[in-house]
């Protein structure tokens, strides 16, 4: 693989942070905020999303049928359908269409060179259509303003929906002043837009062929749906004599009725508008007259176009010719791939990019491949351009899962990223056996994985060893020569504070204070005192960090539960597989999931509730285990496991007395950062509710992510990006006297940036003595 070295990658990211991040963040975060608002105002949002997804599932399932159906429909209307195997095939076909148009009707406009106007289409970006046409001596003009700016700048799109999002108004003005040398230099967006309207209007009037993409294609009526705000797609489609629509085969949906949820959703997810300005449903060739600006004296309704024949004669109604090019280019193989298939449900709204903190920081030039960008780009690039293109940026997905709630068709984007990462791991060429990490990595992975990944993927074993030798291991790990080695061998940035391992793990501490028998006695005493009748028992899951690093939050959780009358057990339990998953080590995670299931199932059988402190481990159990365990086992674990504050909330709701806990006076300001996966699981609200019931005035953070997400922020190539993202969060919470966070990484990140203690909410709540 032609992969960049860590330091090259770090340089590239630093450069993008400086040059493009700000402009991307400015626009993408506004769209994201508007999406939240519009989603919030849409009563039937969930049913729309479910419906949209199920339509896509059905359509991809019967895709070959739909191709036949649309062919019949379009041909019955007098148009042509061409299914192109790959980029070369599609490009050759389109060139051919242009040549035929020219040889039959001559070149439109004053120019000798045939010309094409295009409306924004990622699919034509994917096949590099412009280059292919230009190689055939055909002029191509992009008419979407953003795409046109890129064409003038000789740049590439950085966002699925806002292709020129990385350029500021000032940069565009400078570019245009250079290129077009206007009498009065352009300054405002208004002036730039007016100029573009005039310039592009002329190109459209003189074009021989109009090319558009298609957001959806209704198979049984042959209807192309174009969703735009500018109106250029309409102009490209209805002005020239010939219209070519190019769409990936996945854009087919069965009937007109299936279109409705998508029309309702696409603008909401993309920009947060209730609906786009123009939703054009064309079943071409349309009745609309073609506009022959070369013959300005004849009425547009005269049968139109450059043909003198009356409508309908040669299959060209109103002189218009229509071609639908359906592109395969790997999509039919994706359809057969159980893990990548979901990618085909994507409606390219860009909501996943807008909800992604890493995307905001570096834009699609960092977080993107040859064509596509953002979280879902991994699936698209792996499918249409191959794994190598996906490998370039796949690690920028931290699996934070914030895109999961954003996606209008409920694609599990983080899972696609995990799967592709796993496949990339398997194709790596690192030494299969590695002296540095071998003893620490009892994983199941085949050789060839990046050693940093193996190290972090096996962090549980590392932590256990480090704890057994603490404090020597901590002292050693922070010694300069060791940091240098860790950086060189594992890519762990030396600027990052390493976790400090405790000699006494949570499990040891719990055992030393009398284990479950003592816990039962304590809980019973508390229950008698408070007269609460709560009859539950808890198994507290000692995740790697809680067990070896952040034992205080584990102790606080135990004390809190006991004080509320609930006896606790803290057995030594297997790893959840979260660490392995985040490195794309699926078979290791799979084995760990089975082990944890086996260990917990007996506890659940005995009527105990599983309580988890670290949200990312809970997310593994509640989300990813669906992919790793048999359905029944998954359901069982999911319904019987809870997040710690969610559980406390449940206890308070069932009569436990909050006054037993450490309470505030109602005035005490607390800034709370939930955790990305915890928010995706809708578990932010219970923590807020508990804090408020215990007398804390809680303010929640709006930033999507802390930028740490597990091992991500430790990696040298991502250190600065992680800090950039973290600063957005830190600036939101810095004024509060107390800051709490549910996730280990979030807490670490905030502690570094704010230079003060950031604990888990349960540490705030825990009674001081029991």
């Amino acid at each position: 693989m032609a992969q960049r070295s860590r330091s090259e990658e770090a340089d590239r990211i630093r450069h993008l942070l400086e040059t493009e991040g700000e402009a991307v963040h400015a626009q993408a975060s506004v769209s994201n905020a508007r999406r939240y608002r519009t989603y919030g105002e849409t009563d039937d949002l969930e049913s729309l999303r479910t419906e949209a997804r199920s339509i896509k599932e059905g359509a991809i399932d019967r895709l070959p049928d739909l191709i036949d159906t649309v062919r019949e429909a379009v041909e019955a209307n007098g148009g042509t359908v061409y299914v192109a195997d790959d980029a070369a095939d599609a490009n050759a076909y389109v060139s051919d269409v242009v040549d035929t148009q020219i040889s039959e009707y001559g070149v439109a406009g004053d120019d000798e060179t045939p010309s094409v106007v295009k409306s924004k289409s990622m699919t034509t970006e994917e096949i590099d259509l412009n280059d292919a046409l230009e190689a055939n001596n055909i002029d191509v003009t992009e008419t979407d303003l953003g795409e046109w700016v890129l064409q003038v700048a000789d740049d590439t799109p950085s966002h699925i929906v806002g292709p020129a999002m990385h350029l500021s108004r000032a940069e565009i003005a400078e570019l245009f002043n250079d290129q077009f040398d206007p009498d009065e230099p352009f300054e405002t967006a208004e002036e730039l837009t007016r100029f573009a309207r005039g310039h592009l209007g002329e190109r459209i009037r003189e074009a021989d062929v109009g090319i558009t993409g298609a957001n959806f294609v209704v198979a049984d009526s042959g209807t192309i749906t174009l969703v735009t705000n500018e109106g250029n797609a309409r102009k490209c489609a209805v002005t020239p004599d010939t219209h070519v629509a190019i769409a990936g085969v996945e854009k087919l949906i069965p009937t007109l009725a299936d279109l409705e949820p998508f029309v309702d959703l696409i603008a909401k997810s993309a920009t947060g508008q209730p609906i786009s300005q123009y939703v054009t449903m064309l079943s071409p060739p349309t009745d609309s007259p073609t506009l022959d600006f070369d013959a300005p004296a004849a009425s547009i309704t005269d049968g139109g176009g450059s043909t003198d024949e009356p409508a309908g004669d040669d299959g060209r109604e109103g002189g218009r010719d229509f071609h639908l090019v359906l592109l395969d280019n790997g999509r039919l193989d994706m359809r057969e791939d159980d893990q990548l298939r979901e990618t085909l449900y994507c409606i390219r709204c860009g909501a996943c990019s807008n909800s992604c903190a890493n995307f905001h920081a570096v834009g699609g030039h960092g977080f993107g491949g040859e064509t596509y960008s953002g979280g879902i780009a991994t699936g698209w690039e792996a499918g249409v351009h191959g794994q190598e293109s996906a490998a370039e940026f796949n690690d920028l997905c931290t699996g934070c899962s914030r895109c999961v709630d954003a996606c209008p068709v409920k694609i599990d984007i983080p899972w696609i990223n995990t799967v592709v990462r796993d496949r990339i791991n398997a194709s790596g060429d690192y030494a299969a056996s590695d002296f540095l990490v071998d003893g620490l990595t009892p994983d199941l992975e085949p050789g060839g994985i990046d050693r940093g990944k193996r190290f972090f993927g096996n962090i549980g074993t590392v932590a256990k060893a480090a704890s057994a030798t603490a404090p020597v291991s901590n002292w050693l790990a922070n010694a300069e020569p060791v940091r240098a080695l860790l950086e060189r061998m594992l890519g762990i940035d030396r600027r990052r504070d390493l976790p400090s391992f405790r000699r006494t793990s949570l499990v040891d501490w719990f055992r030393s204070r009398g284990g479950s028998d003592a816990s039962r006695r304590r809980a019973k005493r508390a229950a008698i005192r408070s007269e609460a009748a709560i009859d539950r028992e808890v198994v507290l899951y000692p995740d790697v960090y809680t067990n070896y690093v952040d034992t205080n939050r584990g102790r606080a959780a135990v004390r809190t539960l006991e004080a509320l009358g609930v006896p606790v057990r803290v057995p030594d339990l297997p790893e959840s597989g979260r660490a392995a998953l985040s490195q794309g080590m699926i078979s290791t995670a799979d084995r760990q999931a089975s082990r944890l299931h086996a260990a917990l199932v007996e506890e659940i059988d005995a009527g105990r509730d599983v309580v988890v402190i670290e949200p990312s481990d809970l997310a593994a159990i509640h989300r990813e285990y669906e992919r790793l365990l048999p359905e029944e086992s998954f359901e069982r674990l999911r319904t019987n496991s809870y997040e710690i504050c969610e559980y406390v909330y449940g206890l308070l709701e069932n009569g436990a007395d909050p006054d037993i806990l450490s309470t505030g006076d109602g005035e005490e300001q607390v800034a709370y950062h939930s955790h990305c996966q915890q928010r995706t699981l809708d578990l932010e609200a219970p923590t807020v509710a508990v804090l408020e019931r215990c007398g804390y005035a809680t303010e929640t953070s709006a930033a999507e992510c802390c930028g740490m997400a597990g091992s991500f922020g430790y990696k040298r190539e991502y250190y600065e990006l992680s800090i950039d993202v973290g600063e957005r969060l830190a600036s939101q919470v810095e004024d509060a006297p107390t800051v709490v966070a549910s996730g280990t990484s979030c807490g670490d990140q905030l502690e570094t940036l704010l230079e003060r203690d950031v604990s888990h909410p349960v540490e705030l709540l825990a009674p001081t003595d029991t």
Partner: protein, 168 residues
Amino acid sequence: MTVDTVGRFERALEGLEVGLERVPAADASGRIETIAQGPVVGTPLPFEGVSLPDSVRTEPTPAELEAARTGITPVRFAIAEYGTVAIESTADGTEPIALYPDRHVAVVAERDVVPDLSAGFERLADGFDEGRTSVVFATGRSATADMGELVHGVHGPGDVHVIVLEDR
């Protein structure tokens, strides 16, 4: 509809900075005359008792279309929920006339203002059944943020007026 669908339509349009006027069919021509800025092109209005003002050029040439400042077209139906008008592609040029000039005046019969998108899709499906299969849902004014800020009137109209015929 017992709820005030036209009122809802009007509020949605307000948010889009599109004006709405309710007029009796008899007064429509006069109102159009005042709103339209010349040169004006249009397609014939299929509502009983409503005709286009004399100054409106129907069946324009491409040159007239390009030069026009206002385009007047009927719309088949409107969707109150989003402030959407449904413009059909017809042989008399409704689509380009609604699209090219900077000002679009859309005329709709009150009974054709439907409450929400679902009702709009029902009307759309009826049209498809009758062979009218090319329709644009236009909502507000053409817009772009690609030049760094939101600007209206890019490729399509930057100014839209809706006339609701209250007795049609």
